[in-house]
Amino acid sequence: MNRETKRETAAAPLSVTGMTVAYQKKAVVENVSFTLPEGRLVALIGPNGAGKSTLLKAVLGLVPSISGSVAIYGDTYKKMRSRVGYVPQRESVDWDFPTDALDVVMMGRYGHLGWIKRPGRKEKELAMNTLEKVGMADFARRQISQLSGGQQQRVFLARALAQEADLYVMDEPFAGVDAATEKAIIALLGELKRAGKTVLVVHHDLSTVEEYFDHVLLLNKKLIAAGSVETTFTPQLLHETYGGKLAIVSSGGREALVGE
C-alpha cells in the first residue's frame, strides 16, 4: 500500500544488532550485527556448526536470543511478519503427513487469513500460480511423500512465494536437490531480485556463491565479514571463516574454493 514511502525512509529489509544465541549456556551465535541491502540476493555462509540456521531462526523469533534486536523494514518482526517469507530446511517436516502439494502451498496463506477464515478459492488460485512458477503445477494433487527431494524443496519455495513477502529467508534450499530443481531455484531467485525483493539464503556450496549471489555474510559463530561478493568473498576472509577446514584449489589461473 505505501511501499513507496517505506522505500524512501530507506529502512533496510533486515537489520540485526548484537544478536547472541545460546543453547544450554553454550553460545552458538555471538554478537552478530548486519544490515541487508534492499533488492539483493544474499548468501549466508560458514562451516557446519557456525550457527547459520540458528541465526535465521533467531531472526524469525523461532529460537530465543539472549541479547540483540531485529528490525524488519524498520519495525519489529511481529509487526512486519506478513512481509517475510520463510523456507525451512526440508528435513524439518514429516513428508509422510497426509496432505498434497497444493495444500502445503496454501499453508503459506494461513498467516494472512487471521484466526477463523479458511483458505478458499482465492488462496487456491494463488497457490496454483506459485506452483506453476516453480514448475510443479502438474504435481499439485500429488501426495507429498511421493515427490522427490527436489520437488519437495520446490513445494516449499512455492509456499514461501504464496506468502507474497518482500523479504525471503531460506534455510539451505539447495541442499541435496537435483539439477532441475537447482535451475528452478536460481530462476526464481532472479525473478525475486527483479521484483525488488530481498532474499537471504543459507548456502553451502562455495563454488556457486559468485554465480548466484550479490552479497555475502560470512559467519562462524561471530560475523567475520559482510559485504558485496567482490569485496567480501575473498580467499583471506574465507580462510578466516572456515579456519583450517578450507582448501583452495588452483587450476587454470583460477582459484576454486572447497569448503570442508
Binding site: Q24, K57, L60, G61, L62, K78, R81, V84, Y86, P88, S92, V93, D94, F97, P98, T99, D100, V104, M107, Y110, G111, L113, W115, I116, R118, P119, Q143, R159, Q163
Partner: protein, 292 residues
C-alpha cells in the same frame, strides 16, 4: 434402554478419541496421549477429596489441570536434557502412582473403585445418572462425553487450519504468527478432558487404545487429513458398536472387546489397505521386479 446408553457412551468415547488421535499420531505424540490418560488419575482423586462428590465438573477440571501439568513436566524434563521417552516414562508413572496412593489411602472417603478407574466398567454407566432439579437427565457419563465431544468439534472445526499447520510444520506456523504453544496446550487439554470423561467407560488404560488405534488405521487408508479424521471416527464407531455386540455374545468385558475390535480392524487394514497395505506393497515389489 440399557443397551442404548452403553452403546451411545461407547460411540461418544470412540468419536472423541478418534478425532484427537489423528493429531496425536501425526505429531508423533501417541505416547503423550498414553501419559495423559494415566496422569489424570491424581486429578480425579484430588477433585474427589476436595469436593467430596462424584461431581463431574470438579473431576473434569482437576483432571485437565493434571493433564496439562503432565505435558508441562515432560517438556521441562526434555529441555533440561533428558530423552523424550524417559521423560514421558518418569512423569506419567510417578503421577499415576500418586493417584493410586491417594485413592488407596482414602478408600473409605472415596467411592471410587480402582479396578473401575483402570479398566472401566461401561456396563455401570446407565445407573450413574445425573439429576437436575428432580428430573433424571440420563447417565452422567453420556453428558460429560457429549460436552467433551462438542468442545472438540467446536475447537477443531474453528481452528482446523491452525491445528493442521502446527502438526505439519510448527516452525512455519510460528513464523506466520500462529501461537503454536497455545494450540499445543489446547490439544493436550482436549486429550485430558477426553481421558477423564472416558475413564469410567473404557478406563484409563484402554482409552489409549481408542486414541491411537482408529487414527493409525485411518492413516493407512488415505492421504488427506480431513478424510483421515472422518475414517478414524468411522473405525472408532464400528469398533464401539461391534465390540459391544461381541462382548454380549461372549459375555466378556465390554471395553476389552471394543479395543480388541479396533485392533482387529487395524490388522485387517494393515494387510488389505489399497494404498499402504502389505498385499499391495508386496504386489508392487513383484511388479517392479518383473519389469526389471
Amino acid at each position: 434402554m440399557m443397551d442404548f446408553w452403553i452403546i451411545l457412551t461407547a460411540v461418544l468415547v470412540a468419536s472423541a478419541c478418534s478425532i484427537l488421535g489423528c493429531f496425536l499420531i501425526l505429531r508423533r505424540m501417541a505416547l503423550v496421549g498414553d501419559a495423559i490418560s494415566h496422569a489424570v488419575l491424581p486429578g480425579i482423586a484430588i477433585a474427589f477429596l476436595m469436593s467430596g462428590t462424584r461431581d463431574s465438573m470438579w473431576m473434569l477440571l482437576g483432571a485437565t489441570a493434571f493433564g496439562l501439568l503432565t505435558v508441562f513436566l515432560i517438556q521441562t524434563l526434555q529441555t533440561s536434557g533428558l530423552q523424550s521417552d524417559a521423560s514421558i516414562g518418569i512423569v506419567f508413572t510417578a503421577l499415576f502412582a500418586v493417584g493410586v496412593l491417594l485413592i488407596s489411602l482414602n478408600a473409605q472417603h472415596i467411592d471410587l473403585d480402582l479396578d473401575c478407574v483402570l479398566f472401566g466398567e461401561i456396563a455401570y454407566v446407565p445407573w450413574d445418572t445425573w439429576t437436575l432439579g428432580g428430573t433424571e437427565m440420563g447417565p452422567r457419563a453420556v453428558w460429560m462425553l457429549g460436552i467433551t465431544l462438542t468442545v472438540i468439534l467446536l475447537l477443531i472445526g474453528l481452528f482446523y487450519k491452525q491445528f493442521k499447520i502446527c502438526a505439519f510444520d510448527p516452525a512455519m506456523a510460528a513464523a506466520c504468527g500462529i501461537p503454536v504453544l497455545l494450540f499445543h496446550y489446547l490439544l493436550m487439554g482436549l486429550v485430558s478432558m477426553t481421558a477423564v470423561s472416558s475413564f469410567e467407560s473404557v478406563g484409563a488404560i484402554l482409552v489409549v487404545g481408542m486414541l491411537i488405534i482408529p487414527a493409525a488405521t485411518a492413516y493407512l487408508l488415505t492421504n488427506r487429513l480431513g478424510v483421515m479424521i472422518g475414517l478414524s471416527v468411522a473405525v472408532g464407531i464400528v469398533s464401539a458398536v461391534g465390540g459391544y455386540l461381541v462382548s454380549y455374545l461372549l459375555d466378556a468385558s465390554i471395553a476389552g472387546c471394543i479395543v480388541s475390535m479396533a485392533g482387529i480392524l487395524f490388522i485387517l487394514t494393515l494387510i488389505f489397505s489399497p494404498s499402504h497395505g502389505l498385499i499391495v506393497k508386496f504386489a508392487r515389489k513383484r511388479e517392479a521386479a518383473g519389469v526389471l
